[in-house]
Symmetry: C2
């Protein structure tokens, strides 16, 4: 009975969870402006729920640094990444992600490589969907960012160190970068760099994998940094 069907506890939805996701969406897509105050009662009315689950969701979002709580004054939407925070984020990513890539490479098997290739293909598809005549839409960037997040998460998971994955995940890199809403990240460069990483992993060369990841992070930083130029 070694290979029985994996039965997981089915994911029940509690209002608090739904509200959490809903507000996260609102914040990410800037339906609520950064820095704006969040009126709990108003938000509850909008979502057609009572303030109680809203408060619970906000308490969790505060841990994600997506909202900021000032006691007895209420919550406000966290400001967008400024230049300093941007550099800090990439410094941390540049430290952790290459390490994760190295570990993942050391433990890599055929399944991982195919899985990563699938992720790359999916990302390529989001690019192919774009045509020069159609202006890039917000939705496109969203898709792309989502695929990018999946790729990096897959490598973090493959590192075998769950805490490492957790740590990276808690940075909420893609969420914060997505809020910058700077679409130059979209492009073949990203795909090519991802492929370089997977190539190194497939070749079982941990150092090369780490180097490829470091290079990718660095270049990604360079691309996104333009968001702060004027």
């Amino acid at each position: 009975m070694k290979e029985r069907t994996r039965t997981r506890p089915l994911p029940r939805q509690i209002l608090s969870d739904s509200v959490y996701e809903a507000v996260k969406e609102l914040v990410m897509d800037q339906h609520i402006e950064p820095g704006a105050r969040v009126n709990i009662d108003q938000l509850a009315r909008d979502l057609r729920v009572s303030p109680t689950p809203v408060r619970e969701a906000l308490a969790r979002l505060e841990m994600d640094a997506l909202v900021i709580k000032e006691p007895l004054r209420g919550y406000s939407i966290a400001p967008i990444l400024d230049a300093a925070a941007f550099e800090q984020l990439y410094e941390v990513r540049g430290l952790i992600e290459p390490f994760a890539a190295r570990r993942a490479c050391e433990r890599a098997n055929r399944q991982l490589v195919t899985a990563l290739h699938r992720e790359i293909d999916a990302m390529q598809k989001t690019i192919d969907g774009l045509r020069p005549e159609k202006p890039r839409r917000y939705r496109d960037y969203r898709e792309f960012a989502w695929e990018d997040a999946r790729f990096h998460e897959a490598i973090a998971v493959a590192s075998g160190n769950e805490l490492l994955g957790e740590t990276l995940s808690r940075l909420r890199s893609h969420l914060h970068l997505y809020r910058l809403y700077y679409a130059t990240g979209i492009g073949p460069e990203t795909v090519a760099e991802h492929e370089a990483i997977v190539t190194a992993i497939a070749a079982h060369q941990p150092e090369a994998a780490a180097a490829a990841m470091a290079e990718h992070i660095k270049r990604s930083q360079g691309r996104q940094r333009h968001a702060f130029e004027r």
Copy 2:
């Protein structure tokens, strides 16, 4: 007016915050057993508050991975670090903390060095307070662990990368290690290793600082690992 008194928003206490801290204490000191279920109503009665702020506190504690939520079933206390999680924690610390030490060293000034020395002195005091005739109490280790946390946090802050500090802080290393509650005679060695780190920082030798921190983490891991032997 450059040097006016730093006026910060004064820290208001909200019930929710108090409950958060109270439950954290309970978990850390094992007044609630790991794995045990947490009855919200009961806990609210014990703390003489209503369930509402308790729920809010638990929601935040879940983000800290100190409690685990199962929808419609309730919360339970997170299990103690097992051997695998322990190794993972130290792997992550071993990656991040030396980097923080290097950065801190690069930006170090006289103030930082004196501040770190003060932390070391404070830690030394917690050791001196111990006398062989008195059995080591639980309280003593608590003090010691807290001082250790302060030292590491000071270096993380000094790195200049706030996100790095946040990332380390969110690991809740000392909290989880404290829960293992296994530490005998680790005082003097820890102090010595901390001093080695500060020495390197004072000498403005970033690589040496990173190496000293790496060594410290490695040795600390070796000391604490005994908790899993039997």
